[in-house]
Subunit: 487 residues, 2 copies
């Protein structure tokens, strides 16, 4: 095992990690962080550093970072804020290359003492060329390395692997100033079979900031979708450069920017010392650079699920075909599609003729296609989706399903996977009942994002279509119209 390459390799893919302040007490963060790390099969070496214990949680502990018998890539600092700068100096002197500062009580405390401490951290990091994440961060999870230097309960005592074993692509990285929100994206996304490459929380961003991390992850190439929780954009030229890189690479950035209201601005300032900036200006900046802005945690995870599974087949336009066993659901979802800026056109005659062969007279093939429960029982969701997706009148398909009971999806699994593979258009599912975990796994594995919120579902399809349009405009702008691109 070697440290990851790139400037942030020692921080995010270290071979050796010192946990400064590690404790045997599992009720406190200093104990919990080591406990969480030891709960995953990280192949590197972990060194507790403790003044008061010779052994912590079964590992030999060292009185200082300097006493550790080999070079340390990353030091995780969980000690009171007032001791952090001196410890950081000692880390630098011992050759430590990166630090993750979990301690709070810096600029976010809004006291002269806190601000001074943070200024000292910045100065030390600068002087030694040390990579410093935080302070006031909640650590991170690198799923490929099974390394979780964090006290977040979200990656502790998991009953499932960090990444669904069947997922090989469509990886999602979270970069968040808020530990609670960052790991909440993991908590909600993992339950939906999303494969996370990283969850990285950055707190006050005294030194290292979100878009430097995104830049690194773009270099590394293991991430296809970015979920960002942003309280402030400190380096606007870097943001513009990194956002342009991500857009050119077709790796969507889905972001929430806090500070749209006075209370939001206040909260960001109190949380990480962030200056939120003008919301309208930020919104325009995001739009210009193809960043997908969201306002809700659910919607964020929903968008990630859509782009993760369908990033390579975004809708060519806003026209949606809706297939349903519930006629009532079709009408409701059609209205939700309209609100999201999508259209639900009447299907072409050839497609309708094909559909009418499988739909009883009291159903409808017009669109929404009300196949009725009887047709679904007889022919299955896959066949209905296939016939709708074949229509030239639409760019994407939303299938309305009841995912509470997995049995029918289990029976159809092979056909569903076949239809998803063969379709050049994205097909997504909205379930009106609460899905069972089995159904979520089965349909995700077959290639279908499964939504429970109809609004989010409609917005996800609209966002996918919009993202494709932005990229195509970009390509048209860089390619002279007389010289068609070779792609």
């Amino acid at each position: 095992m070697t440290a990851g390459t790139g400037r942030l390799g020692p921080l995010l893919s270290p071979r050796t990690v010192a946990v400064v302040g590690a404790s045997p007490d599992l009720r406190i963060f200093r104990g919990r962080t080591l406990q969480v790390m030891l709960g995953h099969p990280y192949a590197g070496r972990i060194y507790p550093v403790s003044r008061s214990h010779a052994e912590v949680q079964g590992l030999r502990a060292y009185p200082s970072v300097a006493a550790i018998p080999e070079p340390v890539d990353l030091a995780v600092l969980i000690i009171p804020a007032e001791f952090v700068p001196d410890e950081l100096e000692r880390c630098a002197a011992a050759g430590v290359r990166a630090a993750m500062i979990l301690s709070s009580g810096f600029a976010e405390a809004a006291t002269p003492a806190g601000e001074q401490l943070e200024a000292r951290v910045v100065a030390i990091a600068g002087r030694h060329g040390m990579i410093v994440c935080g302070p006031n961060a909640e650590g991170y999870a690198n799923t490929a390395a099974a390394l979780c230097p964090t006290f977040s309960p979200a990656v502790h005592h998991l009953s499932v692997p960090l990444v669904p074993p069947w997922r090989t692509r469509g990886h999602v990285a979270v970069v968040a100033q808020s530990g609670g929100m960052g790991f909440a994206m993991f908590d909600r996304g993992r339950a939906r079979e999303l494969p996370f490459s990283y969850v990285i929380t950055t707190g006050n961003e005294a030194c290292l900031e979100t878009f430097e991390i995104v830049d690194h992850l773009l270099d590394e190439g293991r991430t296809d979708v970015f979920l960002l929780y942003v309280e402030t954009i400190r380096d606007r030229p870097r943001f513009e450069r990194v956002a342009a890189r991500a857009l050119a690479a077709g790796k969507p950035i889905i972001a929430v920017k806090i500070g749209k209201t006075p209370a939001g601005v206040r909260a960001a300032r109190a949380h990480t010392g962030a200056i939120a900036g003008d919301p309208a200006e930020c919104q325009a900046l995001f739009r210009r650079h193809g960043v997908v802005e969201v306002d809700d945690l659910d919607e964020m995870v929903d968008l990630a699920a859509a782009f993760s599974l369908h990033g390579d087949r975004l809708p060519a336009g806003p026209r949606v075909g809706i297939g349903s066993a519930s006629g009532g659901g079709g009408g409701w979802l059609a209205d939700a599609c309209g609100a999201a800026g999508l259209t639900v056109p009447i299907l072409d005659a050839a497609t309708r003729a094909e559909l009418d062969k499988m739909i009883p007279s009291y159903g409808s093939s017009q669109n929404p296609v009300d196949a009725t429960a009887q047709a679904i029982v007889q022919s299955g969701y896959a066949e209905l989706a296939r016939r709708i997706a074949a229509s030239d009148a639409i760019d994407a398909v939303i299938m309305i399903v009841s995912a509470r009971i997995s049995a029918s999806f289990e029976r159809e699994q092979h056909d569903l996977a076949e239809v998803a593979r063969a379709s050049a258009k994205p097909i997504v599912l909205w379930s009106y009942t609460l899905p069972s975990a089995d159904t979520v796994r089965i349909v995700s594995q077959a290639g279908y994002p499964l939504f429970t919120s109809m609004q989010s579902c409609a917005r996800a399809v609209a966002a996918m279509a919009h993202y494709r349009a932005v990229r195509e405009r970009l390509r048209a702008a860089v390619t002279p119209p007389s010289a068609p691109s070779g792609s």
Copy 2:
């Protein structure tokens, strides 16, 4: 056991039910409906009517309704559409007082034959004064009677009782033209410990329509919140009369009206033969009568949860106090509150002084109150909520919690219940992690609606405040300002 009183008693609270078309084949609706009914401890008597079987699913079957040895209150019809009118005549001749028609193939088929069949149903019902629900309905569930004449999987093989045993008030009735959507509200709401009094699906509403049912349920007095899925309002004067009654009684009607887009209009027409009407006109009508209009299934259930637990203590204004262990969550939710029309003001000095005693220096008492994880571990959510709720600067409290693990809520259960009981203001919870079923039960039982969508959470608080304001305006209008009311 006696049939319920009121005109709809024989339909909704029958002593005797005939299931016409009942079959031993559990794969078809005709078999499933009887099976679902037999899966619940209904105390009345069920009579299968079958031409081909002397016994169905262990019950003696009768060749006709007339052969049943006692008067039948309700006949459930699951036979092909073309046989329905004649069967309805036979039912009337045998003294059956009400019919629920589950068969499809009437006006929604948009064929002359279908429309003729529906016209015959209307004529027969009118001639005999028979209460007829449907056709093209999915039946209903009367939870108090444990009577579920429906083939909906949502009330079949439940692992829990139809109503959470601890709930004694705040009952929710669903009335929906769509069976899929109506029972989906139950499916989602039951998982959140909502107590449903009824789920009633009405299909084409050839005779009996939604607001006649709401009127009956208002008389009956077992329902506190109404969830309506409406494709058409057939009798506008009745709607206005019933909506006014519900508003005066303080029993909120939460409704979705399908048909805001051409595709939605088309779907409603194909689904139940409904003429959707002008959406703007309908919206104005709803607003004028205090009907809470929603656009999303999730939001609908969220609003029901809020009104069900807090109907008696709606916020007096739009000012929200936010308490959180996650500073990041506070900022995000504050922005969501702003988008929903709520405000998040800085708290008064006295409240802040009380809060500062429990919050470390790197937290914040301003609002959002970032108590930090440390303070929550030490003092608990209940104590934080209590101190925020005491402030005169706010009308409602939203607590941001992590509900994934139930242990801390279990420990705090008593304190949480105490705070909820003592507070004159509604306190609701938003969880950034996915709640466990145990946490949902514990906090619901302690008196707190638990949301997972921050947008829905903010909108629910806004809707509660708005509903109270509408009612107070109404009261002011009927009470002369010089004569203060005695309440």
